[in-house]
């Protein structure tokens, strides 16, 4: 099992871009990004106004 502690290579530290870190993931290792700044909304909410489940001929107004 991979350690959940952060392990940085020398090259990584030299780059001083400490935005990515290892994170244990249910026993699976993986690289995790930094989160978005708290309270920041990164993406707009898209409209979703169609009804039904099949393609309809409806050009956006």
């Amino acid at each position: 099992m991979r350690s959940k502690r952060v392990l940085f290579s020398e090259a990584f530290l030299r780059c001083k871009a400490i935005y990515l870190a290892l994170q244990g993931n249910g026993g699976e290792g993986g690289i995790r990004t930094h989160g978005t700044l708290a309270g920041t909304t990164v993406f707009e909410t898209a409209p979703f106004d169609r009804s039904g489940t099949s393609p309809q001929s409806s050009e956006k107004k």
Binding site: L20, I31, E44, K60
Partner: protein, 399 residues
């Protein structure tokens, strides 16, 4: 081929980046390299927006173009894992009106597998002449500021005859946009919400989605031409130098900030290099918590044996990305089975399982930074594997 690591890796990759910046082939770049689950190299260089002096940062957001296909394809596989979609079921089970005719006029069955592997017979407008059938039908490739809804765009795709009978050949296509509508239909959610629920949310990734709220975080697009990189116009049509007769890519920088633009699962997402690295590493390590190892294995299986992929010699296409069959034919030092894809706004990524390595390289230089075809990703790959070869040949003195 063996890898170089540590200081040698850093120096060689730095050299590729510095040369590309000096030669103005690239305005800015974020390069991330992970090996054995450890981040070996992370660098943001150059400018996100040269015209206002905004430096590139690791957390800069990019218009993902075809990198979007990874997220949409993983979302489809996740729905298959949940039993809500079936790989070999007809698309009409979920989109009953999606019945494009084969070239001979027959109504052949298109499956989810065909769409994921680009063997359905669909096309892409940018690969056609300006008067091609997709253009005549008014179909958006998902990178322009189209007034269409996703439903209407898919309806128009279905109105154009297929280029070939499903399963009989391979052709890079807008199929992933059709999958996006399938995802909306199955989940009852907008594609953005569905991908958040199925892919980015479980991994805690907040920097990938549709329609950016803060344009200041978004890299500006540039094009390398005439020996320099210039800011993209809006709209812009980027010609494809490797494909005679094709109109080229219709792009709009404004699309990324327009919440009304339809959600293109094949080309319309925005995201960070770090988010993609995270998703690819999850897949490389077996898929949890997004997919089962069996689904990842299925996703990485070549669906195009015996077929030649025109822009990717030596590679086949799996369920969402290419897989390397023959390194010699591909002219690549990567290991057999390496996954790879890129994006027209200047992106490349690959996962080399044999070397337990994942690489993400996002630039804001259209085509130059793209895999396939761009010199920057080719130099970068050679630098990572050997630090020699054409990298040295291509190197020029700064200044």
């Amino acid at each position: 081929m063996s890898l170089i690591m540590g200081g040698s890796l850093s120096g060689c990759v730095d050299a590729v980046i510095e040369t590309a910046l000096t030669e103005q082939r690239v305005v800015g770049a974020v390069v991330l390299i992970a090996k054995d689950g450890e981040l070996l190299y992370s660098r943001a260089a150059g400018f996100s927006d040269r015209d206002v002096g905004q430096p590139m940062a690791v957390e800069t957001l990019f218009r993902l173009s075809s990198v979007s296909k990874v997220y949409t394809s993983v979302a489809v596989m996740a729905l298959i894992g949940q039993g809500l979609l079936t790989l070999d079921a007809p698309v009409t089970d979920w989109l009953p009106d999606f019945r494009p005719l084969s070239p001979d006029g027959r109504a052949d069955t298109i499956t989810v597998r065909h769409l994921l592997s680009h063997t359905a017979g669909l096309g892409y407008g940018f690969l056609e002449p300006a008067d091609g059938p997709y253009h005549r039908a008014g179909i958006s490739d998902g990178m322009d500021l189209s007034p269409l809804t996703l439903e209407e765009n898919v309806r128009r795709i279905a109105s154009v005859p297929l280029l070939f009978a499903p399963g009989s050949a391979w052709g890079y296509s807008i199929a992933t946009d059709v999958l996006g509508l399938m995802i909306e239909t199955v989940t009852g959610q907008p594609l953005a919400d569905a991908i958040r629920a199925l892919v980015t949310g479980p991994l805690g990734l907040a920097d990938t989605g549709f329609a950016v709220a803060d344009p200041a975080r978004l890299a500006t697009g540039y094009i390398h031409e005439g020996g320099v990189s210039r800011r993209m116009a809006d709209p812009e049509i980027i010609p494809l130098p490797f494909l005679d007769g094709a109109e080229g890519l219709r792009m709009s920088l404004a699309r990324a900030c327009d919440p009304g633009a339809f959600a293109s699962g094949g080309a319309g997402m925005i995201g960070s290099a770090g988010d993609l690295l995270r998703v690819l590493e999850v897949l490389r390590q077996g898929g949890q918590p997004l997919l089962s190892p069996a689904l990842v294995a299925a996703m990485a299986t070549d669906q195009t044996p015996g077929m030649d992929l025109l822009p990717w010699p030596g590679r086949g296409f799996a369920l969402g990305f290419t897989v390397l069959r023959n390194p010699a034919a591909a002219g690549s030092p990567e290991s057999v089975g390496t996954w790879r894809l890129g994006g027209a706004y200047g992106h490349s990524w690959f996962v080399d399982h044999a070397n337990r390595m994942t690489v993400v390289a996002f630039t804001n230089a259209g085509l130059e930074g793209q895999s396939p075809g761009g010199r920057f990703p080719e130099d970068l790959t050679r630098a990572i594997y050997s630090g020699g070869g054409s990298l040295k040949t291509n190197m020029k003195s700064p200044g």
